[in-house]
């Protein structure tokens, strides 16, 4: 019997006055990789933001359960500390705070206990090497002046350091060249184990070639219209979303 990690029940979400999600149901078990695909504006990013309870969105109905906890109305930082991570489509630039200082601070918050500087630096260095990031990036201000690709790698770096139970990757592959996509998928593989899970949000399928995906969900106009295995992605790649309309 697989262990449930995240369960979304009948979720309705608005952005301002606009209805975006219109009853989404989704269950993710430990050890699984899920993908949400869909055309632009279908509500993919809204789903990710709703899980982290971004105050810019309003939940109109439904529930989000992480393991045994109802996280629907928890604050973003509480959800993060319960082990949910989101890689942003457009990571924010925070001037004046270095990647290294920020991640150490954040790691302390997420784990709830102080980590030794030396230990942390080593871990950071290791992960940066794995992602082929230049070491000087750890002393640069968070995302400031990073290229699109560097920002995305920095998100994956944060995922590896914070080691969440559930990693939500919102369009992490968009705007990346082939090499970067390979590095990012390698990052996901390194992170993945039988006790955690990944939810990938994307509108293209490149990244899915190098990952073993368990489920693909097609989100159109705020609803999941079809769920299938990895093959569904290939089908969409061939035929587009027309077939669901």
């Amino acid at each position: 019997m697989p262990k449930k990690l995240l369960e979304i029940k009948d979720l309705y979400v608005n952005a301002g006055d606009k209805e975006i999600l219109k009853g989404v149901d989704l269950t993710i078990n430990k050890g699984e990789i899920h993908v949400i695909m869909g055309p632009n504006g279908s509500g993919k990013s809204t789903t990710a933001n709703a899980i982290l309870n971004n105050p810019a969105y309003t939940k109109m109905g439904g529930k989000i359960i992480l393991e045994d906890t109802d996280i629907t109305n928890l604050k973003t930082d509480e959800i993060a500390r319960k082990g949910v991570f989101m890689s942003f489509q457009l990571p924010e630039e925070i001037p004046g705070i270095t990647v290294s200082n920020f991640l150490r601070y954040s790691k302390n918050k997420v784990t709830g206990k102080p980590i030794k500087v030396f230990e942390f630096k080593n871990e950071l260095k290791k992960h940066m090497e794995e992602l082929q990031m230049k070491p000087e990036y750890s002393e640069r201000y968070l995302n400031v002046g990073f290229s699109g690709g560097e920002k995305k790698k920095n998100e994956i770096l944060q995922m590896l350091v914070l080691n969440p139970k559930l990693a939500i990757l919102d369009e992490t592959d968009s705007g990346l060249d082939v090499d970067s996509i390979n590095i990012v998928s390698k990052g996901i593989e390194m992170y993945k184990n039988k006790n955690n899970a990944v939810l990938i949000i994307t509108h293209n399928t490149k990244i899915l070639h190098s990952l073993k995906v368990d489920y693909v969900h097609v989100l159109i106009n705020g609803k999941i219209v079809k769920t299938g295995t990895g093959e569904l992605a290939s089908e969409i790649e061939e035929k587009g979303y027309k077939m669901f309309k």
């Binding site: 982290l52 971004n54 604050k75 930082d77 001037p95 004046g96 954040s106």
Partner: protein, 465 residues
């Protein structure tokens, strides 16, 4: 969720000593009072005449017609000269216990041991301690209090004293000229590089009084220096006045970095004047952190007189409850190929007012010059105020001038991003504010950066959320 503390705990800065002095001039400003100060200070005749002329100028000049309201300042309530019960010494052990304790708590003797090449400490109107490492002495560097300089280096002082900042500049400079006391004098000979900073610290303890220290620094051709100025005072109910004056002469090819961490108490009117005259291919960098005072009017100025002269200004001000910090930078490009770079930040919260007021003038003779200005203001709530008032006066064609300014609150998106990494809302905001101030604290020596971060934390405590 907002928890507001009326008065944040400024701990060490607020330790009051007994108002115990050797001599305190009676309050007010008359010819007799100026003559008495001059007598008490044993001025040479030229200085006595200088003071009296400055008083005349003071009486003629009008109050500023712009900027913060200074109506609560009444010179009849201010004692302009307070001599502490001690003579100047070069040994901390000789400084009276209560005064020494104050400087101990401010960390001055400790910093001297660790990271400074020389220290001056002023208590009320007189310098109580001055010392410098022997190596610098051997290289011909002079670092002493202003009174000693007037006595021992009369020619060089007379040649430079209030020539860079003439008493006619504005009313409070004239006041300064009349009642100045204390301050530091530095001379760095040609091609001498002073690698470790010198610091002067100014402490005003006496209530209803003023501090009018004069800092005169001459960095001769090809020489370099980093000078740090710190100031603080405990809080009293009535206003205190600070009208210091800083004159910097930086000769051809020389370099000076002038850093200030100003943390006056919140009853202080800080009307300070600082100006640098910069020679050919020379450079002056200003680093300025303004945290304290009730009202500040502070606009350091660089005059780029030599070809290829450069200047940078990096400043931050943090205006909290009851504070009106009107600060900024002035630069005049007066020669070819000069350049200036301005980076100013301000934070206002809890009803404080932060104003960036500035002047850039690029004169007809400054072809090939460049000036870039960037200012950013952060509003932490909707009861505070933030203004940006820059005058840009460009009088020739071959220049590159640009100015950018931004006002706003901390972005919700940034807060969400940091919260998604496990930071609470307060932590996220505090982190963004610290990051905002980082370009400034980075410019300071480690100990002072730590002091500044402390001040920011003190200011933020209980007010963010």
């Amino acid at each position: 969720m907002k928890t507001e503390l009326d008065e944040i705990n400024r701990n060490i800065y607020d330790i009051k000593n007994k108002d115990d002095y050797d001599f305190k001039i009676k309050k007010g400003l008359t010819r007799e009072i100026i003559e008495e100060i001059s007598r008490q200070k044993n001025d040479p005749e030229w200085m006595r005449d200088f003071r009296l002329k400055a008083l005349e100028t003071y009486n003629k000049l009008e109050m500023p017609t712009w900027g913060p309201d200074l109506s609560e300042l009444n010179m009849d309530d201010i004692a302009t000269y307070v001599r502490p019960k001690t003579k100047m010494t070069g040994n901390w052990e000789d400084v009276p216990e209560d005064i020494k304790n104050t400087f101990d708590k401010l960390g001055i003797p400790e910093a001297e041991k660790k990271s400074l090449a020389g220290v001056g400490a002023q208590y009320d109107s007189e310098v109580v301690y001055h010392s410098m490492k022997n190596e610098l002495l051997a290289q011909g560097v002079i670092y002493t209090d202003m009174e000693t300089a007037v006595r021992e280096y009369p020619d060089i002082v007379q040649q430079h004293f209030m020539k860079c900042v003439p008493v006619t500049d504005h009313k409070f400079v004239a006041l300064h000229g009349a009642v100045w006391s204390g301050g530091s004098f530095v001379y760095v000979p040609k091609n001498v590089k002073v690698e470790i900073p010198l610091q002067s610290y100014f402490r005003l303890n006496s209530p209803e009084s003023g501090q009018f220290e004069h800092t005169l620094i001459i960095v001769d051709e090809g020489a370099s220096l980093h000078f740090i100025e710190g100031c603080s005072a405990p809080k009293y109910n009535k206003v205190n006045l600070h009208a210091g004056c800083v004159e910097l002469y930086v000769k051809d090819g020389a370099y000076l970095r002038y850093s200030t961490i100003e943390n006056w108490s919140k009853n202080m009117l800080n009307l300070n004047t600082k100006k640098a005259i910069i020679g050919k291919n020379a450079q002056v960098d200003w680093v300025s952190g303004s945290f304290g005072s009730k009202i500040s009017m502070l606009y350091p100025m660089s005059i780029l007189n030599g070809e290829g002269a450069r200047t940078e200004y990096t400043g931050i001000s943090f205006a909290g409850k009851g504070q009106n910090l009107d600060t900024g930078f002035k630069v005049v490009h007066n020669s070819r190929n000069t350049s200036s770079l301005v980076n100013s930040k301000s934070i206002s919260k809890n009803g404080g007012t932060a104003t960036y007021r500035a002047l850039v003038r690029i004169n007809e003779n400054a072809k090939g010059s460049k000036c870039n200005v960037s200012c950013e203001s952060l509003m932490l709530d909707d009861i505070s105020r933030s203004d940006t008032i820059p005058v840009n006066d460009v009088r020739t064609d071959e220049v590159e001038f640009s100015h950018e300014a931004k006002i706003g609150k901390i972005s919700d998106k940034s807060i969400f991003y940091l919260m998604s990494r496990g930071l609470s809302e307060e932590d996220a905001k505090a982190m963004i504010v610290r990051g905002f101030a980082d370009p400034i604290s980075k410019e300071l020596p480690v100990e002072y950066a730590a002091e500044m971060n402390n001040l920011i934390n003190l200011e933020l405590e209980g007010s963010i959320g």
